[in-house]
């Protein structure tokens, strides 16, 4: 995915400059607003793909900013950044109208992955597809079945959901925490590499015996499913 337009609302100039630069280096356009009011004004005037909003902002705090935007029917997806990072703060943030929540400090790759997923959702919000296809891998959500090259792959229910999530975001980086959040619905950080073990099992079922590997490990970020032959 290229050329997203992102608004970063963050009062710390250094953190903001870092984010803007990093988004630009990833091929996106990023604007910066140093406080809540300016962020609100920019978000209403311009059309952005995703807003990245710090929770604690001068003049207008992050949650109020999001609430005001939602009242004005500005439905741009929002990633909330927060130094608080407790279970309750996440609930509050999402309740205020945020779409995703990332506790500080975060890895930029994590933020980028989430922003890209949100942006994609904004541009392809159509009714969820019933089948996903990546190369010769096919997943039928209604029949709860997956086939590769026409051959049925036997999957455990959780493996099915894991593959479903990966394929839904085919071509996008999906981080380990995103998998834990969306496939298991937990927001904590397991001490051990449990997610890696699950992915490698899935990979064994999906990719083993095939010349083309579909599930890729993105170093320092997470995983991506894509048809590398194309």
């Amino acid at each position: 995915m290229t050329d997203m337009k992102i608004l970063v609302v963050e009062d710390d100039p250094e953190a903001a400059a870092y984010m803007v630069k990093a988004f630009q280096e990833s091929g996106h356009v990023a604007d910066h607003a140093p406080d809540g009011l300016e962020g609100y004004a920019l978000a209403r005037e311009e059309t952005y793909d995703v807003l990245v909003v710090d929770r604690m902002l001068p003049k207008l705090d992050g949650l109020s900013l999001i609430r005001s935007l939602r009242e004005q029917k500005v439905e741009t997806p929002v990633v909330i950044l927060s130094a608080l990072g407790q279970v309750d703060d996440r609930v509050k943030g999402l309740r205020a109208g945020g779409d995703d929540y990332l506790p500080k400090p975060y890895a930029f790759s994590e933020l980028l992955a989430r922003v890209e997923v949100l942006s994609r959702r904004r541009h392809a919000p159509a009714a969820e597809q019933t089948t996903y296809r990546v190369g010769d891998l096919e997943l039928d959500r209604l029949a709860h079945s997956a086939t590769r090259g026409g051959k049925e792959i036997a999957l455990q229910p959780r493996e099915f959901r894991l593959l479903e999530y990966l394929m839904k975001h085919a071509g996008q980086v999906v981080t380990r925490t995103m998998l834990l959040e969306n496939v298991w619905d937990y927001h904590f950080d397991p001490q051990t590499n449990v997610i890696d073990v699950h992915v490698s099992r899935l990979r064994a079922k999906v990719d083993k015996g095939h010349a083309v590997q579909l599930i890729h490990t993105i170093r320092g970020a997470g995983y991506m499913i894509r048809d590398s032959a194309r």
Partner: protein
């Protein structure tokens, strides 16, 4: 504050004073009542004396007419301590008696009453002003006979009684004040001792203890309880110090490593790959730091009861337990550990699903870390993990048990403390915060974490009482 000021302000003194006032008022009431009753009794006696005398004189008149009456009156007035007499004609002309002047109209009224009068004292030839109780009797033929008793003696008695009452009240007041002063000084001294010691303790001498006299009174009991409190505070302070020492150690170690990696890269890296590897190591170390920091914050917040109502809801504990087990199952399989699950289909409870999930993940994490000996293939028993959950009263109890080396009994209560890592586990990854967090989660739900022997192995029991206890 001056010594006197202290004394006057002391509770004991104020109490004594209040009691003194109450007592003096009561004593005053009693004395006034006694005096009044005595006076009324005397007056009553006088009244009956007058009545008797009047009827006696009337009898004399009936027997011998006015002449005899005059004679009897004359004779009686001469007796010492005589009553008052006055006999007049119906026109008011004086016939006999020892009463000098009378207020006008006294003779026209027959009721017994107190009047002012002037007395003729023939012996000393002078007139005395006085008050008297008199009765006027109209004799047949219009003569008026006045009989009365002087009240001087009674007035004197009354004065004596009032003086006695006043003096006793004064004595009571003075004695009460002195007693109150002594009691106050005694109590004040004890309280002063206690507050002086408290001052030195506040000044930093945490080893100081309040004096206990051994009298077993309420001040002793207070001092003993305060001492117990000081003991507890001392323990907590020590615990806190230990924790901050541990925090210092466990945060400084990764910080040092972080710095070392950066320095190393600056000093000796040549190729971009070397730089990339060094930066990767730096990021990894900082991620570790962030994890420790998050865990610490979370525990602190949970212990402050800070994870509040927004994330609390009804959820199925069995569902959470199964999903966490399922999350870790592949890991267990890879490690050669068998995992068994024993729980009912549903275990609804009220609490934080997220936190319970994290607590269970920590327990499983620990089991993988510590219950699988590196040489288990050589031992006869393959590692096994059992997760069971059951309803316990209104709440839920979840047990994670393994057959690993377990934890020696004397260290079991220790492992839930922050940063405690037992001998032999320091080399393994981790920060020593896992069980602290589990314990904090249990407490947030009104329960606790129990660690027991599984013969062999370790059994961690998460007690999560129902709604009532967590509210």
């Amino acid at each position: 504050m001056t010594a006197l000021g202290k004394l006057v302000r002391a509770t004991a003194f104020k109490l004594t004073l209040a009691y003194l006032v109450v007592f003096v008022v009561m004593a005053g009431c009693v004395l006034a009542y006694v005096t009044q009753s005595a006076r009324e009794l005397l007056l009553e006696q006088t009244r009956s004396t007058i009545a008797a005398e009047t009827s006696g004189l009337a009898e004399q008149y009936r027997l011998g007419g006015v002449r005899r009456l005059v004679h009897v009156v004359e004779r009686r007035t001469r007796l010492p301590g005589a009553s008052l007499y006055l006999l007049t004609t119906f026109t008011g002309e004086r016939l006999a008696g020892n009463v000098g002047e009378l207020p006008a109209g006294v003779l026209d009224e027959q009721a017994t009453r107190v009047i002012e009068y002037r007395r003729d004292d023939r012996h000393e030839d002078r007139q005395i002003n006085g008050r008297a109780l008199v009765q006027v009797y109209v004799l047949p033929g219009g003569f008026r006979l006045l009989v009365g008793r002087d009240l001087e003696e009674q007035e004197r008695l009354r004065a004596v009684m009032w003086r006695a009452a006043g003096i006793s009240l004064a004595f009571i007041t003075i004695l009460g004040c002195i007693g109150g002063w002594f009691i106050t000084r005694r109590v004040l001294k004890r309280v002063e001792d206690i507050s002086d010691t408290a001052q030195t303790i506040m000044g930093g001498d945490l080893a100081g203890r309040l004096p206990v006299t051994g009298a077993g009174d309420e001040l002793d009991r207070l001092a003993m309880h305060l001492n117990a409190m000081l003991e507890r505070i001392g323990e907590l302070m020590n615990g806190l110090k230990e924790v901050s020492d541990n925090i210092a150690h466990d945060l400084k170690t990764p910080l040092t490593r972080l710095r070392n990696h950066a320095e190393e890269a600056l000093r000796s890296s040549r190729t971009p790959d070397e730089y990339a590897a060094a930066l990767g190591a730096v990021i990894e170390e900082s991620d570790n730091l962030i994890k420790v920091f998050n865990a610490l914050l979370m525990i602190a917040r949970l212990e402050a009861g800070g994870e509040p109502q927004d994330s609390m809801a009804e959820f199925d504990a069995a569902d959470v337990a199964r999903s966490v087990v399922e999350l870790y199952e592949p890991l267990a399989e890879d490690a050669g550990m068998t995992v068994s699950v024993d729980m009912p289909a549903h275990l609804p409870m009220y609490g934080s699903r997220e936190l319970l999930g994290q607590a269970l993940a920590n327990l499983l994490d620990n089991a993988f870390k510590y219950a699988i000996p590196s040489d288990w293939a050589a031992s006869s028993q393959p590692p096994a993990l059992c997760i069971s959950a059951a309803r316990a009263g209104a709440g839920v109890e979840i047990t994670v048990s393994d057959n690993g080396p377990g934890i020696p009994e004397d260290s079991r209560h220790h492992v839930v403390e922050r940063f405690v890592r037992l001998e032999g586990s320091r080399s393994r990854p981790g920060f020593g915060l896992g069980l602290s967090l589990v314990s904090a989660v249990a407490r947030l739900h009104g329960g606790r974490l129990r660690i027991e022997d599984n013969h062999p192995g370790l059994r961690a029991i998460l007690e999560l009482p129902g709604k009532g206890a967590s509210a």
